[in-house]
Symmetry: C2
Subunit: 206 residues, 2 copies
DNA sequence: GTCTATAACGGGATAGAC
DNA sequence: GTCTATCCCGTTATAGAC
């Protein structure tokens, strides 16, 4: 078999995304990966560690690219405050790009879900993975919106995270709710639509 | 004991909100409710039906109030398009109000989570509970934003749902990510902040 | 490194006494 | 309507052969 470990990661990614951390059993994962149950424990020791490995594999390069893009956009600004849309795009685009080439959307769905599974294993993910990136992007947003009070910025970032995570999650829920009224169009302009929406929200009023 | 059925509903609400549908076991629920396991099956037959009952109990009156407020705000508009902020407030305020009086926040957290648990039992909830309300509010938003293409409105509603659900879910994730940079201030202006943010996003550009 | 077999436990559901 | 006792299955995890 061509790399057991990776096949486990792929299956886990897909099933965690589809059924959540609690909802996806190791047995379902090994069946999907066509692998023996013991192999999971050999390579990852525990279910929780498997989730962290799944997240790590994709998120580490995404976060690197995010930081690189943010540096680019700050270099372009040359000392002046960066543009809100550019900062948002630096954060969101890497995740979307990865999702489109290579069909890694399961991972995006998973990340979207983890925002909702607060309180358990999910917190580990955010604490270990996002601390550094979040710090840098918050500073950039604060510079991009100098007139916005600190406290208000925090709330708006909270709303931004919500809209972003929900978009990562896919449109299934919205389609169920807006049934007959709306069906999602092509995916590409989605990124631009999202950024436009969020930037307007961040700049609201004065 | 003063009403077994209600104590089960209360415990289920809290634990489903805290650990998700899969993560909260019936045994944990009956322990919290100080009730026997068989009582759950007697009153609700199945775990899934219990979740639906939990949601129904609170969501039915909330959705009634939403429709009433929407009618009010359309009557005030007297034939002219309603104001975006008013439509948003008619939808969001009833959930917030219930959460603040009586301390029913567990239910809001639960609803927020269900948006993320797409694909399973959660879809049942949305299909059975939101169809009518969603239809009415979508029409109202379309009238409030006549210049916005139908397709674009759908996407923006999608973003609105995301920000709203995440706010219902509480700020734990955002606090973990923005640690040291932000701590949520008092809850009351939150509703106004959210509506201002969403309205600006809905009206973005032209 | 990969398998089989099994341990040890917790899950939802049910029968039947009271 | 409420309880005890139990069924039966799926769960994670591990021991030990190959």
């Amino acid at each position: 078999m061509i790399d057991t470990k990776q096949r486990i990661l792929d299956a886990a990614e897909r099933l965690f995304a589809e059924h959540g951390y609690e909802g996806a059993s190791l047995r379902a994962i090994i069946a999907d990966a066509k692998v023996n149950l013991a192999a999971v424990h050999y390579h990852f020791h525990t279910k929780e560690a498997l989730l962290l490995a799944v997240v790590d594999r994709r998120l580490a390069p995404i976060n690197e690219e995010r930081l690189k893009l943010l540096e680019d956009c700050e270099r372009n600004a040359a000392g002046r405050p960066p543009v809100v849309e550019d900062v948002l795009k630096a954060f969101i685009a890497p995740a979307f790009r990865l999702a489109q080439r290579g069909s890694h959307e399961p991972f995006m769905h998973l990340m979207g879900r983890l925002y909702g599974e607060s309180g358990e294993v999910a917190h580990l993910v955010f604490k270990t993975q996002f601390r550094k990136v979040a710090q840098r992007f918050l500073e950039a947003l604060a510079r991009a919106l100098p007139q916005l009070p600190h406290d208000e910025l925090g709330w708006r970032v909270h709303f931004v995270i919500g809209a972003m995570a929900h978009t990562f999650r896919g449109t299934a829920v919205t389609e169920a709710v807006t049934e007959g009224f709306w069906h999602p169009s092509e995916a590409h302009p989605m990124l631009e639509r999202l950024i436009k929406f969020l930037a307007a929200g961040l700049r609201a009023e004065g």
